[in-house]
């Protein structure tokens, strides 16, 4: 899985903000990510499996594997809900 094209991730006032770009930026549809979300977002800019996302969290945070996997699953579900994954 991979993120759809047309989004930028920026740091604004200490927050990680995702905006759609390409002609029109919709601030009403703006999303902010916490640090964990930011890690997963960056990993999903390249093709990644759930195991890759879990590994990315394990590499960056002191969590056990089930916790990291559950967090990655929640994030992917949320991305699907918001229709942000390519080919989902």
């Amino acid at each position: 899985m991979k993120l759809k094209d047309g989004f930028i991730l920026r740091e604004v006032a200490g927050e990680h903000v995702v905006l759609s770009v390409g002609g029109e930026v919709d601030l009403n549809g703006m999303i902010t990510l916490n640090d964990t979300g930011c890690t997963l977002w960056k990993r999903l800019e390249q093709e990644a499996e759930l195991s890759d996302l879990t590994d990315a969290l394990l590499a960056e945070y002191e969590v056990d594997e089930p916790t990291a996997r559950a967090a990655a699953e929640r994030f992917v579900e949320k991305l699907k809900e918001l229709d942000l994954l390519a080919g989902a």
Binding site: V12, M30, L33
Partner: protein, 150 residues
Amino acid sequence: MLERNVRFEELMPLIRERIAAGESVRFSPNGTSMLPMLRQGVDSVVLSPPPEKLKKYDLPFYQRENGQFVLHRVVAVGDKYTCIGDNQFHFETGLDHSQIIGVVTAFTRGKREHSVDEPGYRIYCRIWHYSRPLRYLWRRGIGRLRRMFP
């Protein structure tokens, strides 16, 4: 992990950047000064890069010298612009072109998207502007009546 909690003012560098890149930015303006056209939390505007010179009735988004960000209508054009909100009676003079961040090219009112080139919108701008003195008298009259008969 996915939240929404950034203040609008904090997004200004990003807005300026995207406008400078030639893109448009959609957002919901705050306040009541552009009623009845724009209702806070309901309607939104599409801001595009400003032309070299604004025209009468254009709707620029600009920064006042005190730092405040404002979306008001141009009602007079000279070396500087004079602006006012549709729901206001006091004109703001001396707006310099360098203060303008972008200009509204479209807006959504309720669920309908409108272009600023639509005849209906252009008529609204003129009627609303030229009826301002009457609206002012009407509002003052209502205010007096309310004070007389509280």
